[in-house]
């Protein structure tokens, strides 16, 4: 098992390099020019001043030189400075990441627990009330766009009823986490709904499929209780495809959801990325994109590990 993990982890390094190359050259070959973004349209600035500004940001050197400078700095721990705001990218990431993380983490946990539970229960009690509730939620989550749902939530709970804030993450009166909790409710809920639907459907279908297998009959045949049949025998087999979905949502923890953060004015990484992309703020874009790519790679490895743990066939090299 240890060798297995090590192999996978080592494979990540060359992949990360390739990703960094892609990220760098893809973004730099677009037309976005941060220097022109900095200057408002009404302001006249002479060509020499523009060039001087470019030089200050190192934008005048040939691309491959810029790439090596960037990678070099990165490996030394210097993530560069935002062109638009002047703050260090590391600081930007450090303050936005926790915001994105806490939101996505809550949503992932809630959606996974509810989605899987409802899905499994729907499969067990087919055509029962739970099944209907589950199907209803599934339709809701898949057909309603997240931003629409979010806006409706804000209108109902924040504006009409006034129970929750309209957006943002915090205010000056906040001292502990629990003071801040009310800001988390609506964004987490909105983010969860869409995620719940997919998980629900997959869990349900997977569970149904497993329940039709012969080994479930064998299990029942032993005379064990239904509960044991479902939990010990069925669940562990049914969860494998579902794990894939959950693991591939892990990048949300780092990259965040653009839609959610925008609708709720949540100060996370996605907001930074959007702002940086519009203004051509390369240092921010490149580091954040690289970060997200790294998270996806890690998730992939994690998935391999967990699958191996769940399914001995994979672990022992077969199939």
């Amino acid at each position: 098992m240890g060798k297995f993990i090590l192999k996978k982890v080592l494979m990540m390094i060359p992949m990360l390099f390739i990703v960094s190359l892609l990220v760098f050259f893809a973004i730099r070959t677009t037309k976005a020019d941060p220097v022109t973004y900095l200057i408002p349209a009404d302001v006249v600035i002479s060509e020499e001043n523009m060039e001087a500004l470019r030089a200050r940001y190192g934008l005048d050197a040939p691309l491959y030189v810029q790439y090596f400078r960037w990678i070099g700095n990165l490996l030394r721990g210097d993530f560069g400075k935002s062109i638009v705001g002047g703050t260090s990218v590391a600081a930007i990431v450090a303050r936005s990441l926790p915001a994105t993380f806490e939101l996505a983490f809550g949503a992932l946990i809630i959606s996974s627990v509810i989605g899987i539970t409802l899905g499994v229960l729907s499969a067990i009690h087919q055509n029962g009330i739970i099944d209907y509730v589950g199907r209803f939620i599934a339709v809701l989550g898949t057909s309603m766009p997240q931003f629409f749902f979010g806006i409706i939530m804000i209108q109902i709970f924040a504006i009409k009823l006034g129970w929750l804030p309209v957006g943002g993450r915090t205010d000056p009166s906040v001292v502990t986490f629990w003071d801040r909790a009310k800001y988390l409710v609506l964004p987490t809920l909105t983010m969860s709904i869409a995620m719940i639907s997919t998980l629900l459907k997959y869990s349900r279908n997977s569970m149904l499929e497993v329940l039709n297998r012969d080994y479930i009959k064998t299990a029942r045949m032993k005379g064990i209780s239904e509960r044991r049949v479902y939990i010990t025998h069925a669940l562990r087999n049914a969860l494998r495809p579902v794990m894939v979905i959950i693991i591939f949502r892990l990048p949300l923890l780092i990259g965040g959801s653009v839609v959610i953060e925008s609708v709720f004015s949540w100060p996370g990484i996605s907001t930074q990325i959007v702002g940086a992309t519009t203004s051509g703020d390369y240092p921010v874009i490149m580091v954040t994109t690289l970060l997200i790519a790294a998270t996806i790679l890690v998730s992939s490895v994690l998935l391999d590990i967990i699958t191996a743990l769940l399914d001995p066939r994979v672990r022992l090299g077969k199939e």
């Binding site: 006249v44 209108q155 957006g167």
Partner: protein, 561 residues
């Protein structure tokens, strides 16, 4: 069967939730039809609510905080840089200028300067510094004034008004960073500014330029001052100082204890990072907001607790005309007759009626109708498609070419009227291609220049700003050489101090503009300001001015009920 039933129930519930939620005003950018429908729903809801209770909210205690949001031109990452404009009141409360003015920008009195005088020839301005302190306790000195002007000459990102004014100072052209600006002399607490040539709006500019602290900023690199860490927690000289900045979350202003004037009654200003003004207002996170976006205006009008105010500002919406094609050769628009014809081809009154009813007016030059400076002798260039067509044919316009119409404003109203304009031009046989700019506006307008007509906006502080555009380097790229008489008129307008002479130049300019149509005028639009008067008590008879500029808002008299 059962699945379909479940889906149907889901659909019905979705519709119900949508209707429930949509009551209370649509969002910015929604079409008028949708928001009217939403309004009707909300009105129905409100009336039913009103029947049961007298007031929606009892006279509860409001916290002594004014709520605002940072959006568009303001930032929630750090305090705003005051040298592009005063960013919708943000900077007014933090930094003051030598002079201050009223909402009309007509009368001036000292602010950081206790007294000032102008020489007879209008070239020398002398200011006596008042006894004012910075928020860190240090006194505001004449040195700070000189320092600020030297700084302005080095800033890359700066309002053209300030830059032009600063360039008039003696020695500005030869000034080097680290050197000494000859034209400004400091003597104790008196500062004297010597101008090279007359600058008509100098007093106005003096009421706008925010004075910066030399003792804090000496040695800063001003080419990138906008990104300076100074703005993470700046030293201020206004009524308020910055208490807390949580980037992307909120910024809190609190009362500057070193402020020497009448202390303001509102304890704190809370500026949050919420992106939608309507939602923010509905959620109690926004207490005043200015806009000229019809959808936003409608939404705010629907909120009972907000009172509407008119703000007269010079906000021009017009087309930049590109007289060169992509190869650098003059194109059809180089002929002034063609440009004139295009004005007649657009029914601008209809557009104003549709989108800016009551707060917009068709404009035909730099002058604004119904103002005293407006030259009523000029034509109103009313919509006349037949005239337009015949003018174009006479000028030999090639109807097979496609005119590229572009715009950069992201709101629905702009998109709508651009489409409408495209359609109007199609009516007389002109092919058009209407699209939003993909890249940054500055780049598209002045570097790439892949358009024939580009919709641009100008929030002008003075008429000079409007005319200044004609003769700046950017416009030279799209207009080529302009008529020397025209540029002469502009210069004399800028430099004449005598009011009557100035008006004459202005009149002549307006007439010439109609001949030349170097910019294709559409309309001027006023701002509406909405204040949450259920919460905020305003001084009686208050008048509001251009929110992007500094004027006396009588903020010390604002209070929370």
């Amino acid at each position: 069967m059962k699945k379909r039933f479940a889906s149907f129930v889901a659909l019905a519930l979705v519709c119900a939730m949508t209707l429930a939620a949509c009551g209370g005003g649509g969002n910015a950018g929604s079409s008028t039809a949708a928001s009217t429908a939403a309004e009707e729903v909300s009105e129905a809801a409100d009336t039913s609510a009103a029947e049961t209770t007298e007031e929606t909210e009892p006279a509860a205690e409001n916290e002594n905080v004014l709520y605002y949001i940072a959006t568009d031109d303001a930032s929630s990452e750090r305090v705003n840089y005051p040298f592009n404009n005063r960013a919708r009141f943000f900077c007014n409360l933090l930094w003051r200028s030598l002079l201050t003015t009223d909402a009309d920008f007509a009368t001036f009195k000292g602010d950081l300067a206790s007294d000032y005088s102008v020489s007879d020839d209008g070239l020398t301005y002398t200011f006596t510094m008042a006894d004012v302190k910075w928020s860190d306790g240090e006194p505001v000195t004449a040195e700070d004034v000189k320092f600020t002007f030297e700084m302005i000459l080095q800033l890359t990102s700066i309002n053209s008004n300030y830059a032009n004014a600063a360039k008039q100072i003696v020695g500005a052209n030869t000034f080097q960073p680290g050197g000494d600006l000859e034209g400004i002399t400091v003597d104790g607490n008196t500062v004297t500014i010597q101008l090279d040539s007359l600058y008509a709006d100098f007093e106005k500019i003096m009421s706008q330029i925010a004075i910066m602290p030399k003792h804090v900023l000496e040695g800063e690199d001003f080419t990138v001052f906008a990104q300076s860490s100074f703005f993470d927690m700046p030293v201020t000289n206004g009524m308020y100082k910055v208490e807390e900045v949580v980037p992307a979350n909120y910024i809190i202003y609190t009362i500057n204890e070193h402020y020497e004037g009448e202390k303001p009654q509102i304890e704190k200003i809370h500026i949050s990072a919420l992106s939608d003004p309507i939602v923010a207002a509905q959620g109690g996170q926004l207490d005043f907001w200015n806009t000229n976006n019809p959808a936003e205006i409608e939404a705010f009008r629907a909120m009972d607790n907000f009172t509407e105010f008119d703000i007269n500002i010079l906000y021009y919406r017009y087309f930049v005309v590109n007289c060169y094609d992509d190869d650098g050769n003059p194109n059809a628009l180089m002929d002034p007759k063609v440009r004139q014809a295009l004005v007649y081809a657009i029914d601008r009154q209809a557009l104003v009626d549709a989108y800016y009813d009551g707060f917009g007016v068709v404009s035909n030059s730099g002058g604004v109708p119904n103002t005293p400076e407006y030259n009523s002798a000029q034509s109103d260039m009313a919509y006349d498609p037949d005239l337009a067509k015949s003018m174009l044919e006479e000028a030999g316009f090639d109807f097979s070419q496609t005119l590229r119409l572009r715009y950069y404003s992201g709101d629905q109203t702009t998109q709508n009227f651009m489409e409408a304009i495209g359609a109007m031009l199609n009516e007389i046989g002109i092919q058009t291609d209407v699209m939003k700019f993909e890249n940054d506006a500055t780049e598209e307008l002045w570097t790439l220049r892949n358009y024939e007509l580009a919709q641009k906006n100008l929030s002008a502080f003075t008429y000079s700003e409007w005319y200044g555009e004609y003769i700046n380097e950017n416009y030279a790229k799209v207009l080529g050489d302009i008529d020397p008489e025209f540029s002469q008129l502009i210069t004399s307008y800028n430099t004449t101090v005598d009011a009557a002479e100035r008006q004459q130049s202005f009149d002549d300019l307006q007439m010439m503009e109609q001949e030349m149509i170097y910019k294709l005028p559409l309309f001027t639009v006023n701002q509406k300001l909405f204040v949450n008067t259920d919460k905020i008590e305003l001084p009686s008879g208050i008048e509001f001015g251009n929110p992007w500029y500094n004027y006396d808002m009588q903020f010390e008299s604002w209070s929370v009920k």
